[in-house]
């Protein structure tokens, strides 16, 4: 098989700390039969490795985001546009992603997760803050070095049809990235690489001469994933990779992403609104609300013990396909609607809808992300009291918003 061998020859892949592609592949196959996890390289100890936050683990941090802000000016004017306000799409987010792990960003509409994803890749210019990719500050790069740096961090988009140029054949779409970075050395090599990638995402070679509109949604998404892989990236930001797909196809693409990560030692940031999908595929999850991170933990810990009131409401709202669970679970309903990102509430952004809201601090001071448990950060003034049961939520019934 030419696949794994070709990958191992690639100098970027030679990281002794991580499994070789072959071993990872074998592990994936074996574990697929056994039905256990395929992500982690070492067996889970008492405190799983993923739970250690970046600061304590001293681990290999691939991406570090420091107080990133993306504010869109709201302009109005007849002849000359004047800025009358800002949409605070992303308002001070700090996180770190370790090499090889999957970080899930979850939140509802208006929380800024898509903007954050694009801001990290500098597809949208951040207003403030820094993005350090493998030691290099992306935000400070000039246009040409930025373009070169882009090779290592790629994006998979939500809309499989819109993200592929309808006028280019699949071959042309896939070769484009390679050409831009000088990776298309010879025709033979390029063709071999394309065939390899297509087989990696489960598409036949005949796909090369076809056009995007001739494929189904799931197949188009695979093409998008193959495109991202053509330039050998280390980080892939997947913006809602499965939400536009049929339910029965979502699992195919989720499995594909997991397999590719194991084979190629990729680092993922998965942005999604579907909590079940994020929980399944991620090692660690960050919950966003109105432009800020409100909680960050390993996916197990977040589900087992959500500390932030919003996370608790979010988790209790996700439907589970099991009538017994649905009938017996406790629903925490939120009041009101999402505030406008152009006019966020003072203090804690969530206080207008929080069932645990207290008279002091909540509407005046913005809470910082504090590590309440090892690897589990929360931004809430009263997180400890809520967790211990000291504070009880207000009753909210269905017919009162």
């Amino acid at each position: 098989m030419t696949g794994p061998a070709a990958w191992e020859a690639d100098p970027i892949r030679q990281d002794p700390d991580l499994l070789t592609a072959e071993a990872a592949a074998a592990e994936v196959e074996g574990e697929a039969r056994a039905g256990a996890s395929g992500h982690q390289s070492e067996p889970l100890p008492d405190v799983p490795a993923a739970e250690l936050s970046a600061a304590t683990a001293g681990a290999d941090v691939l991406l570090e985001v420091n107080d990133l802000k993306v504010h869109f000016p709201i302009k109005r004017g007849v002849l000359i546009d004047k800025t009358i306000g800002y949409v605070y799409a992303v308002d001070g987010v700090s996180l770190a992603v370790r090499r090889g792990e999957t970080y899930g960003l979850v939140g509802e509409s208006g929380c800024g997760k898509t903007t954050l994803g694009r801001g990290i890749l500098r597809l949208i210019e951040p207003t403030d803050g820094s993005v350090i990719f493998d030691g290099e500050n992306i935000a400070a790069l000039k246009p040409e070095p930025l373009r070169v740096a882009r090779r290592r961090m790629q994006m998979v988009f939500q809309d499989p049809l819109g993200s592929l140029d309808p006028r280019q054949s699949v071959q042309s779409i896939l070769v484009e990235g390679m050409k831009a970075h000088g990776l298309d050395i010879s025709d033979a090599q390029t063709n071999a690489r394309l065939r390899e990638l297509l087989s990696a995402v489960g598409l036949p070679n005949t796909a090369l001469r076809k056009y995007p509109h001739e494929f189904s949604g799931g197949q188009r998404q695979r093409i998008g994933i193959a495109r991202a892989l053509t330039v050998n990236p280390e980080l892939i930001v997947a913006d809602e990779p499965v939400s536009a797909l049929d339910v029965s196809v979502q699992a195919q693409v989720i499995n594909l992403l997991e397999d590719l990560q194991a084979d190629l030692n990729l680092t993922y940031i998965i942005i999604a609104h579907d909590l079940a999908v994020v929980r399944h595929i991620s090692d660690r999850v960050g919950v966003m609300y109105l432009g800020a991170l409100v909680e960050e933990a390993s996916s197990q810990a977040l589900y087992a013990e959500p500390l932030h009131p919003y996370s608790r409401a979010l988790l209790s709202a996700v439907p589970v396909p099991d009538p017994v669970v649905e009938d017996s679970r406790e629903r925490i309903l939120l009041t009101g609607d999402l505030p406008s990102p152009a006019n966020p509430p003072t203090g804690c952004r969530f206080h207008t809808r929080c069932p645990w809201r207290q008279p002091t601090l909540c509407d005046t001071d913005r809470p910082q992300m504090l590590e309440m448990r090892p690897g589990h950060r929360v931004a809430c003034h009263y997180a400890a009291e809520i967790a211990s049961g000291q504070l009880q939520p207000r009753e909210v019934t269905a017919d009162v918003v």
Partner: protein, 311 residues
């Protein structure tokens, strides 16, 4: 590369992907739709005949269009012109020239006017539109303000104003005068499409891949923006011919009577329209038919390319 699909399963999925090795691009799809459209064929036949006539005109015209062969049957004083007769099926005009030959040869000039005026407008509009759409920012604002100013003047008035600037009006001056008001139309159309493309995911994906700005503009944005522009071009050929006819009618067109042009012939005929309406009827009729042909073609193109018709 290991995936969890077993070989057998993969073969089944492969079989399910569209059989047939050749892909069909959107262009091929549009062409297939076009072929089935009666509108298209009607327009194409008319335009085709027109083009053929324009090319071979001078060779099949029975007489020299500039030669005043029937002058002896023409009298200004008695306001008579040569009637239809053997060898001259349409008769003569006020200068005793064979009307039929003038009509046939005139096709060439009319076509040239239509095509060149459209080409200049198209190229000018493309340049401005791509500049505005690709760069955005102050370049976009500057270009669009200029375009706005040009668009605020009715196209025929603008053409006339430019036409009078030339001391010796000829076909070239007509072409220039007619083409300039079309530039802002194309520019605005293209810029609008480019702006929409700028926001599209596939352009964003190309940026994320690290593709340089040039290939993004010319490989991603322009090809996806060009369809409505092509449709507009076919329609502009039609309106250019009409506008040129109007300019000639007003006396701002070519004064060279040896090179007939339908609009010019129409202008000449206004003097004798009461007594000899056929002198106006033939060129006007021909213009109408040709304009109709181009319009039908344009409409058929628009229908074939329309995204609503796509799968």
């Amino acid at each position: 590369m290991v995936t969890t699909f077993s070989r057998a399963r993969k073969q089944r999925i492969d079989a399910l992907v569209n059989s047939g090795d050749e892909g069909s691009s959107l262009l091929q799809d549009a062409w297939a739709r076009l072929k089935g459209s009666p509108l298209f064929w009607f327009g194409a036949v008319i335009v085709g005949l027109f083009v053929v006539l324009a090319i071979i005109g001078p060779w099949i015209a029975p007489h020299d269009p500039g030669a005043q062969l029937l002058i002896d049957q023409t009298s200004r004083a008695r306001n008579s012109i040569a009637p239809a007769q053997d060898g001259f099926p349409l008769g003569g005009d006020t200068q005793g020239r064979d009307l039929l030959s003038r009509m046939i040869v005139g096709a060439r000039q009319t076509l040239l006017v239509g095509i060149f005026a459209t080409l200049i407008g198209l190229v000018g509009g493309l340049i401005l539109g791509i500049l505005a759409g690709a760069f955005g920012g102050w370049i976009d604002t500057l270009v669009m303000r200029i375009v706005d100013v040009m668009l605020s003047i009715p196209s025929l008035l603008l053409a006339i104003s430019i036409g009078v600037l030339f001391t010796n009006p000829n076909l070239t001056s007509v072409i220039i005068a007619v083409s300039i008001p079309q530039i802002p139309v194309f520019a605005r159309l293209l810029r609008g499409q480019m702006l929409a493309q700028r926001e599209s995911d596939h352009v964003l994906a190309a940026r994320a891949l690290g593709v340089k700005r040039g290939p993004i503009v010319f490989r991603h944005m322009v090809p996806n923006s060009i369809s409505p522009v092509i449709v507009q071009a076919t329609l502009v050929v039609a309106t250019s011919i009409l506008d040129a006819a109007a300019l000639s009618f007003l006396g701002l067109g070519s004064q060279d009577v040896s090179q007939p042009e339908w609009g010019q012939m129409l202008g000449e005929a206004q003097g004798s329209i009461d007594s000899h309406p056929q002198l106006a009827f033939w060129p006007a009729g021909a213009i109408i038919v040709v304009v109709l042909g181009f319009t039908l073609l344009g409409e058929a193109l628009r229908e074939a390319i329309d995204p609503k018709n796509r799968r």
